[in-house]
């Protein structure tokens, strides 16, 4: 199934889009979504560990199931700052 994924900051510059479409299996997971992302945009491969994925506005681990209609986003490292 095709899912829409929001892109921000570095991820938005790499894809050139605010939203991208990725193909994931019907009962796919965040891990499948990452594989699809790396295939379509190889630039993500080297930085994949630093990119978080959110599902319905919550951070989601790789085993989290992705369903049609979920709100998905790629979350590059946030800007933090020195305390």
């Amino acid at each position: 199934m095709l899912v829409t994924v929001k892109c921000f900051a570095w991820a938005r510059e790499v894809t050139g889009e605010d939203d991208i479409e990725l193909d994931v299996p019907e009962i796919g997971t965040v891990k499948d979504l990452r594989a699809s992302l790396a295939q379509k945009y190889p630039a993500f491969s080297a930085k994949m560990e630093s990119i978080a994925v959110s599902v319905n506005q919550e951070f989601a681990g790789d085993s989290h199931v992705v369903s049609a209609g979920d709100e998905l986003a790629l979350i590059p490292p946030i800007s933090g700052g020195v305390a």
């Binding site: 570095w10 630093s50 978080a52 951070f59 989290h64 490292p77 946030i78 700052g81």
Partner: protein, 143 residues
């Protein structure tokens, strides 16, 4: 309580009024400013980007955590996005409690936690070009 992403200047008076009440004895505020240097280089301006809906949800989570930890529920915060110049307010926080100690703790926790879990990014523009500041990789909470 105010928890929002704004595209106009942060107004601290509004945040202070939002948390003030007859049973409040202390309001602690934090103001995050755009600084003119970063990692030894001059910064000329910053561009902030957010995932607004998730940011506001995570800000409300920060307030809930503060309430649980310190018993303080009067916490207001605004984070500005877009292009900001040196000296402008990027983030404002006001925390209020009956006695001062809890308001200091709440305010400190708020800014530290915002920088950990609220999806906001900043791009620094300086002498050697522009760079996304990436200091805090988010650890996914594995189910």
């Amino acid at each position: 309580m105010i928890c929002r992403i704004v595209e106009r200047p942060v107004d601290m008076d509004v945040l202070i009024k939002d948390v003030s009440h007859d049973d409040i004895g202390g309001v602690c505020t934090f103001i995050g400013l755009v600084r003119n240097h970063s990692r030894g280089e001059q910064v000329t301006r910053l561009e902030y980007q957010a995932y607004p809906e998730m940011s506001e949800k995570k800000m409300r989570q920060v307030v809930a955590e503060i309430t649980e930890r310190y018993g303080v529920d009067r916490v207001a915060m605004e984070h500005r996005i877009g292009t900001l110049q040196i000296g402008e307010i990027a983030v404002g926080i006001a925390a209020a409690s009956a006695h001062r100690d809890a308001s200091f703790k709440a305010c400190r926790y708020a800014i530290d936690r915002i920088k950990q879990i609220v999806p906001i990014w900043k791009k620094e523009f300086g002498e050697s070009g522009a760079v996304w500041v990436e200091e805090c990789p988010v650890d996914a909470e594995t189910p």
